[in-house]
Structure formats: structure tokens, C-alpha cells
Symmetry: C2
């Protein structure tokens, strides 16, 4: 279950295997998550990066789709409870012979749950639309504000976490501000401050140091101010407090904070661990065996960034990077493992083949690491583009996305800058009430 990269890959890889597959997901679509930040900054429409699961699995006759939320596991009876996403329908139970759990992860607010409302993330489509609404409304608020201090608050954007997502979104906000500046008459979005806060002393901590330096320079060029070695200690909707290594806190007046720091595994990891009498690690991940099965339950497989995989030699649980390629490889592996089980064959342990990492910084800048190769600048960006378009396979509107990108790239335009109701309006209205 789970219609992300891993779960969907597992279902598709089972198409020629003599099994019946049921895919359960809360949403009726598969999201191309690596581009959700582009929805948040108005470069792409939701429909460009999300495809209905039913459409993807339309021709796969052995696959069924159920839209609903998994609420419980009964491993001994081999049953899963699902609460349907549609009101007026009863919760119900699915029986299984093999269970694949691919619940993914969410952002972790380091125990500060109140920050979740104030500092939105771009991991889901709904929250990306909310981020879009908040960013655009901040520019609108600056335009009509008569108070210079308040205007500066609205034109200060803080992105927390300088991993690929944080770097990408900070770069995009900077370009959005610059691109749309001519559309405003009173305020000057080109003067917006975009701060990128990171606990480590460099951006893109998972990349080689030389690429971190390239990315840092690229960020500064597009107008992002990196604030390295800083930890967030408070967020209140009007300002954010940071604390450096020297301990002295800094308070920055900013109305808009985007969260891209630290992930925690889906609650399904804990639910599954509890059902199996196992435990989860510090960030909520479930440990699975080298073949991705649950200890004591070979019929239950789990994958993606909600699990840590036990090393076949050392026996230690090791977390793989939370990237789409990991989930895709694991999805393919579990499908093969299920097929092997049917024909009584054994499977070697799962092995992740690292094909490299990519991150993009605004328009036409990126960094890439492929094995020993390190690339930056336009060449890396073209590689980024090719890889992302390639992986949009199955997305019927790949050509549409390409066309829109091409248009947006050459025109510096952002056609999808719409503030719809999903896009922040209700929470903002809520905030208005709180402020009264």
C-alpha cells in the first residue's frame, strides 16, 4: 500500500505475476514529489506533477485501487483496516497473503508541533498549494501595507533546512520575487530577503563539499542569504528565532516560513512495529531485514523512507537516503521477492545502487554527483532536467510540463500563481481570528 514511488513501483512490477494486488492510498493520485516545490512557487500546476492512481493502473487488470487511510494492522489474522476517504461510507477490512507497506515520511518539527501550522512544508500537494497561497499573499500584503516595518516583515521569507528541497525552494522564491517585481507598483518584491537556515555549516550536507560550495555561490547569485550553523528555536507567525553555535539568539522578523528540515517516518511505521512487537528508531523508522521483510513476519514487507534496512553483514540497521530512486529500487525488489516466493525461489538481500544526486538552484543552475563525477552550473541543470523528465514517465502530460517549463523559462513567467482556497486562505483567516 502507498501510492508513492515505492508502492506504485511494486504494484506495477507485479503486473505479470499471478497475484491480485490492492493499492491503498489516502490520495487518489501519485505525486511526483521531487517537483512539488515548483507547485509551491507557481511554476507548475498540480495536474502537471500528480496523476490519478486509477489512470496509471487502468490497464493492469490484477490491480485494484482503494482510496482510504490505513488505520490498523492485525498481523496474526493478516488483516488491514482502512477508513475510506469518502464520508458516508463504512470503514472496512482487507485480507492479505502478502503485505507491502510503503507509507513514506513527513517533515519533523523537532517536537514543536505548533510550528507545523506556522511553517508549512511542500511534501504533499495540499501543503504545497498552501505554501503557494502564503507566499503570494505575502507579496499582496506588502503591496497594500502602509507601514515600512510591516512591509519588510511580509517581504522576508525564511526557508528552514538546506537539503535539496530547501535549496530548491529558496532559489525559486528568490526568482519568483525578482520575476514578479515589475507587477507591483507600491512595494518592491525584488528587495525581498530570502534566508536559508541550516544547522550544518554547509548547504546540501549529503553532497560532496565541493558541490556544497558551488551551490552556496549559486544561491548567493540568485539572491538567497544562507544562514549556516543556525538552529531554529522559535516561530510565532511574525518572526523566527535562531540560535548559533555561540548561543546568542537572533530574532528575525518574517511572516512566511517554509519548513524543509528533518523528516520523520510515516505513523504507519510505528503502527506496524507495534503490531509486530518491534520498535522504531529515533526518527520513527521501522527496522526491516536485509530482504525488506519484518522480523518474524516474512509475509510483511516494508520499504521507502519509513524503514531502516538491517545490513546483511554487520546486522546493523542502516537508513538509506530518502530519495525516489531508493523507493523505486525497493519497490521493484519486493515485487520480485513476491514472485520468487510463489515459485519457491530465494532472493538475495536488497542492495541499493546509488546512481548519484542532483539538486537545482533556480533557473539554469544545478549541482550533480554521479559516482566520482561532480558537475555544477548549466551542464548539471540540463542533466537535472533530462533525469526529471525521464522519470515523469507514465505522466501523460510530460510534453505539457516541458512546454510550460520552456515557456516559463524564456518568459520568466509563472502562469500558475493562483491563490485558491486550498492555497492558504483558510489558515490565514484562522490566523486573523487568533490575532483578534
Amino acid at each position: 500500500m502507498g501510492g508513492g514511488f515505492g508502492g506504485l513501483k511494486a504494484v506495477r512490477a507485479l503486473s505479470r505475476v499471478d497475484v491480485e494486488v490492492t493499492l491503498v492510498d489516502r490520495h487518489n493520485y501519485h505525486l511526483f514529489q521531487p517537483l512539488s516545490y515548483q507547485v509551491a512557487t507557481g511554476s507548475l500546476s498540480p495536474g502537471d506533477i500528480a496523476v490519478p492512481l486509477r489512470r496509471i493502473l487502468r490497464a493492469q487488470q490484477n490491480a485494484r485501487v482503494v482510496i482510504g487511510e490505513v488505520t490498523g494492522f492485525d498481523l496474526s489474522a493478516r488483516r488491514v483496516t482502512v477508513a475510506p476517504a469518502v464520508a458516508g461510507t463504512e470503514p472496512y477490512t482487507l485480507e492479505y497473503e502478502r503485505l507491502v507497506v510503503a507509507g513514506g515520511s513527513t517533515y519533523s518539527y523537532f517536537g514543536h508541533e505548533s510550528w507545523r501550522e506556522l511553517a508549512l512544508e511542500v511534501k504533499s500537494l495540499d501543503s504545497a498549494l498552501e505554501v503557494r497561497g502564503r507566499i503570494l499573499q505575502a507579496f499582496e500584503a506588502a503591496e497594500i501595507s502602509g507601514d515600512p516595518q510591516e512591509r519588510a516583515q511580509w517581504l522576508t521569507f525564511v526557508v528552514v533546512g538546506a537539503g535539496p528541497t530547501g535549496v530548491e525552494i529558496a532559489g525559486q522564491i528568490a526568482e519568483l520575487a525578482r520575476d514578479t517585481a515589475p507587477e507591483f507598483r507600491t512595494s518592491d518584491p525584488a528587495g525581498a530577503r530570502i534566508l536559508l537556515v541550516e544547522t550544518l555549516d554547509r548547504v546540501l550536507g549529503g553532497f560532496p563539499a565541493s558541490l556544497s560550495r558551488s551551490a552556496l555561490r549559486a544561491l548567493e547569485t540568485v539572491g538567497v542569504t544562507p544562514m549556516l550553523g543556525q538552529t531554529v528555536t522559535d516561530i510565532d507567525g511574525r518572526s523566527i528565532e535562531l540560535s548559533g553555535a555561540d548561543g546568542a539568539p537572533t530574532r528575525i522578523e518574517a511572516r512566511t516560513v517554509v519548513w524543509a528540515a528533518g523528516v520523520t517516518a510515516s505513523p504507519l511505521a510505528a503502527a506496524l512495529a507495534q503490531a509486530a512487537g518491534a520498535e522504531v528508531d529515533r526518527v520513527g523508522r521501522l527496522t526491516v531485514e536485509p530482504d525488506l521483510s519484518l522480523a518474524g513476519h516474512p509475509e510483511v514487507l516494508a520499504l521507502g523512507d519509513m524503514v531502516a534496512v538491517r545490513d546483511v553483514r554487520s546486522g546493523e540497521a542502516r537508513a538509506l537516503p530518502g530519495l525516489a530512486p531508493v523507493a523505486i529500487q525497493q519497490g521493484r525488489y519486493v515485487a520480485r521477492s513476491i514472485a520468487a516466493g510463489l515459485s519457491g525461489r530465494d532472493m538475495p538481500a536488497f542492495h541499493y545502487r546509488d546512481k548519484g544526486s542532483l539538486a537545482t538552484i533556480g533557473r539554469a543552475r544545478a549541482v550533480a554527483q554521479i559516482g566520482p563525477l561532480r558537475l555544477s552550473g548549466v551542464v548539471a541543470w540540463i542533466l537535472w532536467l533530462v533525469v526529471h523528465l525521464y522519470y515523469l514517465v507514465g505522466f501523460e502530460n510530460r510534453e505539457v510540463v516541458l512546454l510550460r517549463w520552456a515557456y516559463s523559462f524564456f518568459s520568466h513567467g509563472r502562469g500558475t500563481r493562483l491563490i485558491t482556497e486550498a492555497a492558504g486562505a483558510p489558515p490565514l483567516a484562522q490566523r486573523a481570528q487568533d490575532e483578534r
Copy 2:
């Protein structure tokens, strides 16, 4: 004020006139409303039919955009109060020399305000997204329902009102059901009932009778059941009650009702009438003089489907059809009138040039009336396509829309069938609570 067809046309037509223009709208985008039903049925993305107002007016240096809701008129002081759409910002006042009010209209529920939540309309982008969510969720609910009666309820869709919008949305739901049927395993959306309820004894009451007959045949061909001469007497979320000329009520079990019957003018018409000591008509429209000005206030102009225009000869108030061409012609007229006023020239009364009417029924069927000419079938549909693409001028992504349509047409696909939070989730959750 008003970023619809009329208000926006007025602003753009003033670009070479020596005036400062402020455009006020609740939304940050201009919506190509004649296609909003295509968003509701998953053929188009919001970004395909909505463009940020700031983007449209980017190069027009004498135009300013303010996102907010007009809350009051003070005609003697020549001031308008605006409540900004962004929380944490103060309401403020705009002063004017000339005021143009183009507030449009909303659907009228004939005094049954409780129906507004149960029977959504597709006039605004947000409600079109909600309709989309409800239609898609109905198919999902049918798929997981174990009860045949409940499944039939979910697979019955009622569209109220057989004007162009009602006809178009009913045709689209029928095609959506047929197109997506192969994606379902348990239920059969192809067996869905789509009922089109109309008080008159024919569909497309504003068209010539011969075209109404063509449209009726086309609707039956695509699988819509027209229910003519029927009035809605009750909607409760699970069923709808109709009453015919014979007076005997019929109750139809249906979970999804889409409203496309009868419009009422924007509340701004009444607010403006009150400020001027005038009155509004039965459907809330304000009467304006033959030159679209307010009686006694030549500096205030109002246009679009929130007004009825006094005939220059008979002196009687006459409502023009609520169509984009009317609003566009009136927008152009008021801009000329303002320019004429500056140079002391007089303007002849506004005269509407009827260029014809068009309505489409599903894929590749339409009816058209252009002067004495009546067309139906594929020819009319191609005309419809050409006209709509032509009027998407200013929409940067006209090519994208065309490409998506072409794709969708040939593949019978609907890429944007996404249930996002805006798309019905909160109201459904609400309904669930009500049912408990």
C-alpha cells in the same frame, strides 16, 4: 473594480488614456469562466483557465491591482472601502474620480440557502474544484460500497438547470463516467445516471427551438437523461425531490447535485443601489442609464450581469444575457466613455451587438446560433473551439490548453482528476460529522 471580463476589459482599454486605474478583486486572478466546468470535470487545470491579474496588467503602468473585497460605497465622498484578502492587514479606503463597478453574479438557490452547501456550482474556481472533488469521490465511494442501493445513490448525478453551463457539465459528467469506467473493478461508472433537470420544457431556453432539439438529441446520445418541466423542491444530500406540472413530487436518490440554475446579481449591486438611494430588481440587479451610469451619479458606472440597462427609447430596464461578450463590450464602452468625459465629448448610448451563442455537449458536439445561422454537430463544435481559443487571448498558456485538450480528446483521458483539499474534502468531512 472586478477582474472579470467586463472590469478587466475596462482597465485594459484605459491603458492609453491619461488616468490612474485601480483594479480591485477578491481573487488574484482573472478566470475564464466559460470553461470553469472543465475544471470541475477534470479536463483542465485551474492554471489553464485562470491568469494572475498582476501578470495581465504587468506592462500597463497606469494600472494598480488591489486584492481585497469591496465592503462599502460612499458616493458623496467618492470613496470605496476595501477589506484586504490577507490577514494581518488593515481595511482601507480608496478615493475615486470615476468608479466602475463590475461585480458579476452568483447562482441563486431560489431562497433555499441550505442547498448551496449540498448542490455546488461551478461559477468560481474554488467551487469548481469542490465539484470536481465531489464527483470523483462519488465514483470512489461507489467502488468500495457493498450495498447496491447505496452504490446507485453514489452513481446518480443530478444537474439542475439546462442552460449552457448545465448542458455542458451534464455532458461532461456522462463522458467522464464512460471514460473512467475501465479504471474501476467493482462498480461500473459507465452505468451512472446523469439527470438534467429543467423547469422549462426544453434545454437551452435562450437558443432557437431547433437548436434545443439538436442539443436534446446530443445529450441523450452521450448518456444524459433530460428531465424537463421539473422544479426542484428539496435537496438533502442523499436525494433530490422534483415536482412536475402535474404537481406530483418525485424523489430521486442521488448523492451528487450540481447547481446551474438561475443567477442573482452580486451583492455589490444592492450595496451600490443603497448608497445611491435606488432599488434592485427581483434578481438583485441594479438599473443603470443607457450610458451605464448610475442615475444622479454620472461618475459611477456599472456593467455586466449585475445590472439591467435602461432602454434609450422606451425607458424600460432591460437585462442583457449574462455572457462574456456583453461584459466585454460594456467594459470597452465605459473606458471610451471615461476618455470621452476627459475631453468633454458626449457618448451615444451603449448598444449590445449580439454575435451569437454557443453551447457544447460533450466531446465534438455543439450547437451554435450566429444571427440567422443555426449550426449543430461537429461543425458547431469546431466553431466553439476556435471562438474559445481566440478569447483565451492574454492567456499565456493557450498553447498548453490546446495541447491538453488535443491529448484529452484523442486519449479520452483526464489528467487533472485530482482530489485536493479544496476539492470537496472539508465539506465532505463536515457532512460526515453531520451524519453522525
